[in-house]
C-alpha cells in the first residue's frame, strides 16, 4: 500500500509550488506593485501637487490604492489551478481544502500584501504623509492586507468557475472590505493627529483573526461547488 503524504508535507509542498509558480510568472508579483505606484501618480496630477492638499488625503489614498491593487490580483488566485485541473487533484487528495485555501491566501499575501506594505512608506513620502503616520501606516497595512487576502479568497472561490468573474468579484468583495478600510485609515489618521491608535490596530487584528478562522471555511465550500459544476 502506498503511504500518502501527511498534511504538513502537503502544505509545505504547496507553499513551495505556489511561490515557485509566482516567481516563474514575475508579472503576477510585479503587477499589483506597479499598479499601486502608477495610480498614485494620478493623484497629484488630478487633484493638486501641493503638500498641504496631499497630506490630509494621504492615509486614505494609500489605503484605497492598496485595496484596489489587492482586488485586481485576486482574480487569478484559484483560476490557474482550476483551469489545469490541479485544484481538482487537491480536492480529492483527502486533505482538508480548508488548509489548502489557507496556504493559497498566505502565498497571495506574500506576493501582494507584503510588497505593498513595504512600498507604502515610499508612497507616503511622495504623498507628503506627516512623519507620525509612517509607523501606523505600515502596521495597519501589515495587519489589514492579511484580511484583504483572506476575505478576497472567498470572492475568488465564489467566482472560480465563471469565465469572466473579475468585475463580479470586485462587486461582491468591496462591501466586505469596508471595515478594513475604515480602521486602517483611522489608525493612520489618529496617529497624525496625535491620538492613540492602538484601538484601531486591535480591531484590525480582531478582523484578521475572524477572517483567518472563517474565510477559508467559506472559500473551501465555494471551491467544492465550483468543482462540482
Amino acid at each position: 500500500m502506498i503511504q500518502l503524504p501527511g498534511l504538513g508535507t502537503l502544505l509545505m509542498a504547496s507553499v513551495k509550488r505556489d511561490l515557485l509558480l509566482a516567481f516563474r510568472n514575475r508579472g503576477d508579483i510585479a503587477n499589483p506593485a506597479i499598479f499601486f505606484l502608477s495610480v498614485l501618480v494620478f493623484v497629484p496630477l488630478g487633484i493638486s501637487p501641493e503638500a498641504a492638499v496631499l497630506a490630509p488625503i494621504a492615509p486614505g489614498m494609500i489605503w484605497i490604492l492598496a485595496l484596489l491593487a489587492t482586488l485586481l490580483s485576486l482574480d487569478r488566485l484559484f483560476k490557474g489551478d482550476f483551469e489545469d485541473g490541479s485544484l481538482e487533484q487537491m480536492a480529492i487528495s483527502g486533505q482538508p481544502l480548508y488548509w489548502l485555501v489557507m496556504v493559497k491566501a498566505l502565498v497571495h499575501w506574500l506576493i501582494t500584501g507584503l510588497p505593498l506594505t513595504l512600498l507604502a512608506p515610499l508612497l507616503g513620502v511622495m504623498m507628503a504623509l506627516p512623519d507620525a503616520g509612517f509607523g501606523p501606516l505600515i502596521a495597519s497595512l501589515l495587519l489589514g492586507s492579511g484580511s484583504l487576502s483572506l476575505v478576497g479568497s472567498i470572492g475568488a472561490a465564489l467566482t472560480v468557475a465563471l469565465r469572466r468573474g473579475g468585475l463580479l468579484l470586485s462587486l461582491i468583495i468591496m462591501p466586505l472590505y469596508v471595515p478594513v478600510l475604515i480602521f486602517g485609515t483611522g489608525a493612520v489618521r489618529n496617529a497624525i493627529e496625535g491620538f492613540a491608535f492602538s484601538g484601531q490596530l486591535a480591531v484590525l487584528g480582531a478582523y484578521f483573526t475572524g477572517a483567518l478562522l472563517l474565510a477559508p471555511l467559506a472559500a473551501a465550500g465555494a471551491l467544492r461547488i465550483g468543482l462540482n459544476q
Binding site: 472567498i154 465564489l158 467566482t159 468557475a161 465563471l162 468573474g165 463580479l168 462587486l171 461582491i172 468591496m174 462591501p175 466586505l176 469596508v178 471595515p179 475604515i182 480602521f183 483611522g186 480591531v203 478582523y207 475572524g210 472563517l214 467559506a218 465550500g221 465555494a222 461547488i225 465550483g226 462540482n228 459544476q229
Partner: protein, 247 residues
C-alpha cells in the same frame, strides 16, 4: 417530534398548491393596510413642529429601511437552511428575496435623499446610517449578480447562499465600523430627528405602516417564490397540467 410537516412544506409542489388560496387574502390585507396607513400618515397625522409636512416621508422611509435590513436576514437564513438541509424551496426563497431587498434599500435611500433636502439642505450626506444602507445595497447587488452569473442553477444557489452567509456575519461588523467612523470624523452636527421621542399621534401610523410593509413584503415574496417554482419545475407533469388547465 413529528417532522412530516417540514418535509411536506419543503416540497415545491405542495408549497405551490397550499399557498395558492392565501394569496387573495394576503394581497387584499396588504393593499388595504397600505392605503389606510398612507392616508393616515400623509393626511391625518399632525404636522411636525419643526419640520412641517416634510417629516411625513418617514411613513415610507422608515418601514422600507426596516424591511431592507430584515430582508437580508430572510435571504441569508433561507440560504443557510438550503445549504444545511439541501432544500430547493429554501434556495428559491433566497433568490426571490434578493431583488425585493434591493428595491426596498433603494426606496429607503431615495426617500432619505428627498427628506434630506428640506431638512439638512443637501440631497446626500455621508452620515453613518446612509452609508451603511448604501453598502447594504451593494451587498444585495452582489447577490443578484452572482445569481445571474451562473448558468447552472444549483451552483448559482449554493454559491449565493455562501455569499449571503458571509454577508450576514459581516453586516453587523460593517454597521458598527461605519458608526464608529462617523462618530469619529463628524461629531453630531446633524441629527436624524431633533427630538428622539416621537409623539404617539405620529407613532401609531408609523407602526401601522411598518406592519403593512411587512405584510406587503410577505405577499410579494410569496408571489415571487411561486413564480420561481413554476419556472424551475416547468418540465414536471404537475406544472404542465396546471398550464394546460389554464389555457
Amino acid at each position: 417530534m413529528n417532522w412530516q410537516w417540514f418535509h411536506r412544506w419543503s416540497s415545491p409542489r405542495w408549497f405551490y398548491e397550499k399557498t395558492g388560496p392565501w394569496l387573495p387574502w394576503l394581497a387584499t390585507a396588504a393593499v388595504l393596510m397600505l392605503l389606510i396607513g398612507s392616508a393616515w400618515g400623509l393626511c391625518f397625522a399632525p404636522i411636525h413642529s419643526q419640520q412641517g409636512n416634510s417629516y411625513r416621508i418617514i411613513y415610507i422611509h422608515v418601514p422600507a429601511s426596516f424591511l431592507a435590513l430584515a430582508g437580508y436576514y430572510v435571504m441569508a437564513i433561507s440560504g443557510a437552511i438550503g445549504l444545511i438541509w439541501r432544500i430547493k424551496l429554501s434556495f428559491m426563497v433566497m433568490k426571490a428575496a434578493a431583488p425585493l431587498g434591493a428595491v426596498l434599500t433603494f426606496i429607503s435611500l431615495v426617500t432619505g435623499a428627498i427628506w434630506g433636502k428640506p431638512t439638512w439642505g443637501a440631497w446626500w450626506v455621508w452620515d453613518a446610517r446612509i452609508t451603511s444602507m448604501l453598502v447594504l445595497f451593494f451587498l444585495y447587488l452582489g447577490m443578484i449578480a452572482l445569481q445571474e452569473a451562473y448558468e447552472n442553477q444549483e451552483s448559482a444557489d449554493k454559491t449565493s447562499a455562501i455569499l449571503a452567509l458571509v454577508g450576514m456575519i459581516n453586516v453587523p461588523i460593517i454597521y458598527k465600523s461605519v458608526d464608529w467612523w462617523f462618530t469619529l470624523h463628524q461629531p453630531a452636527t446633524l441629527k436624524l430627528t431633533g427630538n428622539s421621542s416621537i409623539h404617539p399621534s405620529m407613532a401609531y401610523p408609523l407602526i401601522w405602516m411598518i406592519v403593512s410593509f411587512y405584510l406587503t413584503y410577505a405577499w410579494l415574496l410569496l408571489e415571487r417564490v411561486r413564480l420561481e417554482i413554476l419556472q424551475r419545475e416547468k418540465r414536471t407533469r404537475w406544472v404542465q397540467e396546471l398550464v394546460n388547465l389554464a389555457t
